[in-house]
């Protein structure tokens, strides 16, 4: 390493990045990472596919419970969370653009806003939805203890609601960890116009988290 010319040391980390030796070019590595991650996103869609499938089967079997259940959810909190996630998706995409253009500072601010939005989503979910509902007995399955239920199958609605949104919330948390990691590494100078693979991949993941919510929101809150 000592034989490498000292002019290299003045360059930021992203400009000094060399691709792994089993790839021929950096572009090939970037393409491989993206292809791999798109495949991973496919598996995520199929994972949630199971939840959506359960939703539709029980919706067909117990339309009454599903109608009653969705009326017990407040669409305003769901809508607010949708808006929060959409904004965060925009800032995530903007951050990738800024890294590509070399506006590192702006990219970092966009990542910070994305993180704040993710935290806001979780806060709204927990403080205005999970906790108030859980405390009045709107719980899944055998834990159900809500005295004013009209339909006997209402517990099943809450099972699907909690399973789906909790697994989604777990994905929000994982996404925030990934974004925090990218933010940390960006302060060390890892990302710039010629190397931003990890930012792009984190962005893809965050958009998927958003997309899943885009489907969960109308199914759970809007249609009766």
């Amino acid at each position: 390493m000592s034989s490498i010319p000292s002019q290299n040391a003045s360059k930021p980390l992203w400009a000094r990045y060399t691709h792994a030796s089993h790839f021929r070019t950096a572009a090939e590595e970037f393409d491989a990472c993206k292809l791999g991650f798109w495949l991973f996103l496919t598996t995520e869609v199929l994972l949630f596919g199971g939840i959506f499938c359960a939703y539709f089967i029980f919706r067909t079997l117990y339309p009454g419970a599903w109608k009653e259940g969705s009326q017990l959810l407040d669409w305003r909190f769901g809508g607010l969370n949708t808006a929060v996630l959409l904004i965060s998706s925009y800032t995530m995409a903007a951050s990738i653009y800024c890294f590509q253009k070399g506006y590192t500072r702006r990219a970092q601010w966009n990542l910070i806003i994305t993180l704040i939005c993710g935290a806001a989503f979780l806060f709204i979910k927990l403080a205005y939805e999970y906790i108030p509902k859980w405390s009045v007995g709107k719980r899944p399955g055998a834990l159900f203890d809500y005295p004013f239920a009209a339909d006997p199958h209402l517990p099943l609605w809450w099972s699907v609601y909690y399973s789906g949104t909790a697994i989604h919330a777990a994905h929000v948390i994982i996404g925030m960890v990934l974004i925090a990691r990218v933010l940390y590494r960006s302060y060390k100078g890892h990302y710039g116009p010629t190397h931003y693979t990890m930012v792009e991949i984190t962005g893809l993941y965050w958009h998927l988290v958003d997309l899943i919510w885009i489907f969960l929101f109308p199914l759970l809150y809007l249609i009766h």
Binding site: H22, A32, L35, G36, G49, P140, G141, A142, Y162
Partner: protein
């Protein structure tokens, strides 16, 4: 990185002392080492699962439940009998669950792709490594981690749900639910290992083929691994969510699979088989790939119908997703059952295409009879029986009689063991010289193969008969009439065990005193035979350039060909012009 690329020693070369070597292996991102680690982990699990199978067969030696005059009355002798029988049943349930879960999740699903696939995929493609080497190591650790979960569950007493974890068994049996939860989480974690391996392989095939290697210049083993990787990626997440919901069900009683709360236990079966039926083809497709390569190389002949075999792999992968309903014929409408039955028959078409092509490949080939070839022929025989007995199970009217009987048990053992495990044995012997740089004892290997073949047929042909006579699966005791067949089957399991012990001995002898392997002992044309035996750390001295197809035995002299090692067919030696093989030339 740059420090390593100067190193041209074998990948098996030791780096310093014992601790340093173990650390080197534990942190390696070399696909060859990871493949070998997978191989040993899988063979260890195969040993555990095999021991459970021997125990299952031992339990079935005697009918147990019988009255004084030998006829079955349904009544028991003494109260003590009832206690011992209930304990016996419980123990038996745990044993066969243990056998099934280990063999499916920890042996057969990862067997060929994770071990041989990891080792061979980059070598066959002419690449230095898989696309994501660190992810590959992570997959191995996830596999070990998931297996530890499962083994913990076994140490705590094991589960009695059957390997399918059907509800309500999995949600109601065993009051201390930690064992079921551990086993299910183990399967969930193993699924991640499978997904990541599949993803890695797909990207590697797309991005890292050597210059000159088009899609139709890939060895058929790669086509098979690629097809099964697609299934791994698309089907495994569904079992992920299913097992997660099962854990929620078990811990929080959320009721999705519980009829008392409005849920549906059959929904579990649909979810489960939507994954597990495609995964049956994850188990068999790589085996078919091994057989395609072994048959072509050992008969030194161009494979018959290359494209047909390649596309039939993809065809099997596609059809595999629409046949899951045949596991639940009795719980669906007549129309749905008929549709699933018809779709099930579709699988027979691409499968038969492969079998006919393999047989046509043998025709007029210069066949070498050695252990891998013997195993490939055994595969053709056993897999054909396994495949053809699938047809009466896919037919609604015959399935009513045969389902949940020993016929089903025999059928899937012929496909899973007679197919996948036999192909794994063929592959291990075929690529053993490449993996470890040593030859094994050919006579010992062939004796082992013949003993395994005889033992396998004694064990499982009898079970076809038991099944047609009405012996149901998963029962610890049975009517007297079945005794002789059951005992024959148990004797077969001992012969089978003896066969595998012979192989174990042959492998150990090869490590201890095997003669050094030449780079190309069988005369193969694919790129792994260009590399040294064992390959150097970065596989090839230079990036290889592909100038001919993988099976052009009629026009190309094999790399590293030495007439002392093996003769090549006359068509190549004389008469026709032969292209000298020069893959090391840099472009």
């Amino acid at each position: 990185m740059s420090g390593h690329s100067e190193h041209h020693g074998s990948y098996l070369e030791r780096k310093g002392g014992m601790i340093a070597t173990i650390w080197d292996w534990a942190t390696t991102v070399d696909h060859k080492k990871i493949g070998v680690m997978y191989l040993f982990a899988i063979l260890f699990m195969f040993f555990l699962g095999g021991m459970a199978a021997i125990a299952v067969r031992m339990e079935l030696w005697e009918p147990v439940r019988q009255a004084a005059d030998g006829s079955f009355t349904g009544q028991l002798f003494r109260p003590a009998d009832a206690v011992s029988m209930s304990e016996g049943n419980n123990f038996y349930n745990r044993l066969f669950t243990l056998h099934g879960a280990i063999m499916v999740f920890m042996v057969i699903v990862p067997s060929i792709p994770a071990s041989l696939g990891n080792f061979l995929l980059p070598l066959m493609l002419g690449a230095k490594d898989v696309a994501f080497p660190r992810l590959n190591l992570l997959s191995w650790y996830i596999y070990v981690f998931g297996s530890i979960f499962a083994v913990c569950s076994i140490i705590l007493g094991g589960v009695d749900t059957g390997w399918t974890f059907y509800t309500p068994y999995s949600t109601t049996t065993d009051a201390d639910h930690i064992k079921v939860v551990l086993m299910v989480l183990g399967a969930f974690i193993l699924g991640f290992s499978s997904i990541l391996t599949g993803l890695n392989f797909i990207v590697t095939v797309h991005k890292l083929r050597a210059p000159g290697m088009g899609w139709f210049d890939m060895p058929l083993f790669i086509w098979a691994i690629y097809s099964s990787a697609i299934i791994q990626v698309l089907a495994t997440p569904v079992i992920g969510i299913t097992l997660l919901l099962l854990v929620f069900e078990r811990v929080f009683r959320i009721g999705i699979f519980d009829p008392a709360l409005g849920g549906d236990p059959v929904l579990y079966q649909h979810f489960f088989w939507f994954y597990s039926h495609p995964v049956v083809y994850v188990m068999i497709l790589p085996g078919m790939g091994v057989i395609s390569d072994v048959l072509a190389v050992q008969s030194h002949k161009r494979i018959f119908g290359y494209r047909a075999i390649a596309f039939s792999s993809l065809g099997i992968a596609a059809v595999s997703f629409i046949v899951w309903g045949h596991h639940m014929f009795t719980s669906m409408s007549e129309l749905a059952s008929a549709v699933f039955s018809a779709l099930t028959f579709l699988v027979a078409i691409p499968t038969a295409v492969k079998v006919f092509n393999w047989i046509a490949t043998l025709y007029k080939g210069s066949i070498t009879i050695n252990t891998p070839m013997l195993y490939a022929l055994i595969f053709l025989f056993l897999f054909s029986i396994g495949g053809l007995t699938g047809l009466p199970l896919g037919t609604l009217s015959t399935d009513l009689h045969l389902h949940d009987s020993y016929f089903v048990v025999a059928h899937f053992h012929y496909v899973m063991m007679g197919g996948t495990i036999i192909a794994l044995m063929a592959g291990i012997h075929h690529w053993w010289p490449k993996m470890f740089g040593r030859m094994y004892n050919e006579t010992g290997g062939m004796i082992g193969a013949i003993v395994v073949f005889i033992g396998f047929n004694i064990t499982f042909l009898t079970q076809f008969l038991l099944g047609t006579q009405g012996m149901p699966r998963r029962y610890a005791s049975y009517f007297d009439e079945y005794t002789s067949l059951h005992q024959l089957s148990t004797i077969g399991s001992w012969v089978l065990l003896a066969g595998f012990l012979i192989h174990l001995f042959v492998f150990l002898a090869s490590f201890a005193s095997g003669k050094k392997a030449p780079p190309n002992p069988w005369g193969g044309l694919t790129l792994e035979w260009v590399a040294t035996s064992p390959p150097i750390e970065h596989n090839f001295e230079h990036e290889p350039l592909v100038k001919h197809g993988p099976y052009d035995f009629d026009t190309v002299v094999p790399p590293h060909w030495d007439p002392k090692d093996y003769p090549i067919p006359e068509a190549q030696a004389g008469g026709r012009p032969a292209v000298a093989h020069s893959p090391d030339r840099n472009a």
